[in-house]
């Protein structure tokens, strides 16, 4: 049994890769790719008549495999299926870091899952509140209810959009400039920021279209996403590169954090760095940049 560290609500989640819970051969060394989160899937990747087998595989995969620093989330089946309750029991018993609620449409969905998670934590002697939650929005209703979903629980760490199902509902198809999803992405981002949680973009399924993938990833970064869902390890490298801060940004962030700490120790709350006015509002962003820089191997200092 590999004891897992306590899940962190706010951590680096640039890349979140889907893996079928039924493919142990692939799961056992997923972490060597350096992905931030692994999402073990009990939902679409598992055939209807194999849901039971997938749970047994999942339990043992959670208990025996060493994931290093990589987070482990499980995507459970929707609340409209007969599977979700047992899915939650096995996730909590196995010690998953978090649960991804597929097809989430309302705060009530989140609360329903949360109640079942808490019951499972009590049943299996897991610290109550340990298991985190995230919601996958896959329909217009889900997007419209995004804020209430994001704010529905202290366990919520993030929200993601699932493009495939969403585009079908919206009667559109993948567009290279992203116009098919821009409203949904924007609304979800706003909801996530207002509620103070992270936001992730959907998977890019055409593995042969490297240009299109890069364009979408750059747009994701420009819109302010925290990370992206992936379906293949060869997508990891580009996302980490694009989401890495530039050297200029890192140097700037270092200056800001260092200056702030010196100044506030001297009792000063507002000051200038390189001619720009800096106050405490800038610090979380600068510290986030440094943490990101450290994860990318760009920063080795001790400010964060």
């Amino acid at each position: 049994m590999i004891p897992r560290p306590k899940p962190e609500r706010f951590r680096l989640r640039r890349t979140m890769i889907f893996m079928s819970a039924q493919k142990p051969g692939l799961i056992k060394d997923a972490y060597i790719y350096g992905v931030d989160s692994i999402m073990l899937d009990l939902e679409d990747a598992v055939a209807e008549n194999q849901k039971d087998a997938a749970r047994f595989s999942l339990y043992h995969a959670l208990k025996t495999i060493d994931y290093g620093d990589t987070e482990v989330i499980v995507r459970i089946n929707g609340l409209d299926t007969p599977h979700w309750q047992e899915d939650i029991r096995v996730c909590v018993a196995g010690g998953a870091d978090g649960i991804r609620i597929a097809k989430c449409e309302s705060a009530n969905d989140v609360r329903t899952v949360e109640a079942a998670v808490e019951a499972a934590e009590r049943e299996f002697g897991v610290e109550v509140g340990r298991t985190l939650l995230m919601a996958a929005l896959e329909s217009p209703k889900g997007i419209l209810n995004a804020y209430e979903i994001c704010a529905a629980s202290d366990r919520m760490f993030g929200v993601a959009i699932s493009g495939g199902d969403f585009r079908k509902c919206m009667q559109t198809t993948f567009q290279r400039d992203g116009i098919d999803m821009v409203t949904a992405r924007g609304m979800m981002l706003m909801a996530a920021r207002a509620a103070g949680i992270q936001c992730f973009d959907t998977v890019f399924t055409n593995l042969d279209d490297a240009e299109g993938f890069e364009a979408e990833v750059r747009q994701n970064k420009a819109m302010g996403f925290d990370g992206k869902s992936l379906i293949n390890p060869k997508q990891i490298r580009l996302v980490h590169e694009v989401f890495a801060p530039t050297e200029k940004e890192v140097i700037q962030a270092e200056k800001i954090v260092r200056a702030y700490r010196e100044q506030s120790a001297a009792g000063v709350g507002v000051f200038t760095v390189d001619g720009k006015m800096i106050d405490i509002a800038f610090i979380p962003g600068a510290e986030r940049t440094l943490r990101l820089a450290r994860a990318c191997g760009m920063y080795e200092g001790d400010l964060v």
């Binding site: 060394d29 060597i32 790719y33 060869k234 490298r237």
Partner: protein, 518 residues
């Protein structure tokens, strides 16, 4: 008697001057007496040496029971010739007690397994042994132990008379009516014919088998008419699709790319990586991808590769055409890009197996090689490599040029995933030693890099370049923690194969496996 890599070699093998392996360069400075074949004189002019069938050719060469026939493996998994010749010899001429001395045998040669079981073929000498043949030999059905040699060891053994070839069969993509052969210009092209050259010079009889007869003279000839007794024209010498694959594509697998990038980083950190350096690579996923990353370092430092050798494929030809490598010297071609380039693209030359890797001549190409990147089935904590037997103990691989390039090169890098399915690549003791640990310098896996303690100079290079590395024991423990510590294989006493080191001493033996039953 125990040899220098700690393997127990049965005394019954140490006869006629055969010694156990005693370390790298043991035979340096000793003398070798070269053998001479007994060949027929064809003084009377003949317009053509073409005979109707393989059976006719066999009869003309006086084929008898107990003979040794040789073959080359340039047609790889697409070869038809070995099977055709053995069928003619055994079924048409009714011969038995034959020995096959091939440069390598593989998946195309399953029918030979039947002849082994029937006792018609009693000896196998080869580099590679795979498929059904491997299983049958592992099960102890071959009358005499198979002899496994590297690409460099084989010409040494032939030149020194340890192997006497009665009839050499040379599959030739093109031949003229008197036996001048080339590896291009036909319908089953293989490019280089380097592995056939020693056989043609040292066998008593030579029969060329071709499916494309061309006008005389077929020049420049890789195998010359002056060495050829007979020419047989058949419908097809092999399946072109399996001889030379369509251009070898660089792997997209992120694991392979990650390891390849580390390999290139290691190479670039050594002092041998300078203008005019030399390089050889295999064709496995991570090995080939290393070419890509190496090119980046070459561009960054503004240096060019002086020369490359080995089995050659598309990506190396690309480098040649881009002017990033000075010369390519080729003993075997793996894909169509390489086949179409040899002797056509300026500075793409052919060489024989002896020029490539023979340790008993006055200096083969491997002696001047800077870097070689190789794969492995297993590597143990003494850095011994196994490329012959699976960890289930069954014969399924080939030393090839592995031991030769490892011994000759200044920096030998093994690149391999730490585990394959449930088989740990890095292990306590390899099942069979095919390349001794004192020739292996660096092991790059997807879980980390290990450097042989015999190379403190390389350890310093990696440290200076900030490349993390760990003791090889740590990689072994990681492997076992993932797949479980395997049980030791159990063996019967019978020796089914003898592994010769490149200098002719005995490196290891393979015994008959005792399978586990529930």
């Amino acid at each position: 008697m125990k040899n220098a890599v700690g393997r127990e070699i049965p005394d019954f093998l140490l006869v006629n001057g055969k010694e156990v392996y005693q370390g790298k360069n043991y035979m340096d400075g000793k003398y070798i007496q070269k053998a001479s074949p007994r060949t027929r004189r064809y003084e009377k002019p003949q317009e053509s040496k073409i005979v109707e069938t393989l059976a006719d050719a066999l009869r003309q060469c006086g084929a008898r029971d107990g003979m040794t026939f040789s073959f080359h493996h340039h047609l790889r998994d697409g070869d038809f010739v070995v099977n055709m010749v053995m069928k003619a010899a055994i079924e048409e001429l009714g011969l038995k007690d034959l020995t096959i001395a091939a440069t390598s045998l593989g998946n195309a040669h399953d029918p030979i397994a039947d002849y082994i079981e029937q006792g018609k073929v009693i000896g196998i000498q080869t580099s590679g042994i795979r498929g059904r043949m491997g299983e049958v030999v592992s099960a102890g059905k071959l009358k005499t132990p198979a002899i496994i040699r590297s690409h460099g060891g084989r010409p040494r053994a032939i030149e020194g008379g340890e192997v006497h070839i009665d009839i050499a069969f040379v599959a030739a993509p093109t031949s003229d009516c008197v036996g001048n052969c080339r590896g291009i210009g036909g319908k089953s092209n293989c490019g280089s014919m380097g592995y056939a050259m020693t056989d043609a010079k040292y066998a008593d009889h030579v029969v060329v088998v071709t499916d494309c007869l061309v006008d005389f003279p077929n020049m420049p000839a890789s195998v010359e008419a002056i060495d050829v007794d007979a020419v047989v024209v058949v419908d097809s010498i092999g399946n072109p699709k399996k001889i030379a694959s369509a251009a070898a594509r660089i792997s997209q697998n992120p694991r392979d790319l990650m390891m390849a990038e580390n390999v290139a980083h290691v190479i670039a950190s050594t002092p041998y990586f300078k203008e005019g350096f030399s390089f050889q690579t295999g064709v496995g996923g991570p090995s080939l991808a290393a070419n890509l990353f190496l090119e980046k370092y070459m561009d960054e430092r503004g240096i060019k590769m002086g020369w490359a050798i080995g089995g050659i494929c598309g990506p190396m030809v690309e480098l040649l055409k881009k002017g990033k490598v000075g010369k390519v010297i080729d003993v075997q071609d793996f894909d169509l890009d390489a086949v179409n380039s040899i002797n056509q693209t300026p500075n793409h030359f052919e060489m024989s197996a002896s020029q490539y890797a023979n340790p008993a001549n006055k200096g083969a190409f491997v002696n001047k090689l800077d870097f070689v990147v190789l794969a492995a089935l297993e590597v143990d904590t003494d850095f011994n490599v196994n490329v012959l037997t699976g960890s289930d103990g069954v014969l399924r691989g080939a030393p090839g040029g592995h031991p030769d390039t490892a011994a000759g090169s200044k920096c030998c890098i093994i690149v391999t995933p730490l585990i394959r399915g449930r088989m740990a690549t890095v292990c306590e003791h390899v099942v069979t030693v095919t390349t001794p640990g004192d020739c292996v310098d660096v092991v790059v896996t997807d879980y980390g890099i290990a450097v042989n303690p015999l190379r403190p100079d390389l350890i310093e290079c990696l440290d200076k370049a900030g490349i993390k590395h760990v003791p090889i024991e740590e990689l072994k423990e990681k492997a076992y923690s993932l797949v479980g510590r395997p049980d030791d294989l159990e063996w019967e006493d019978k020796v089914v194969a003898v592994l010769e080191a490149r200098d002719g001493t005995i490196l290891d033996v393979v015994r008959k496996i005792k399978p586990y039953t529930v």
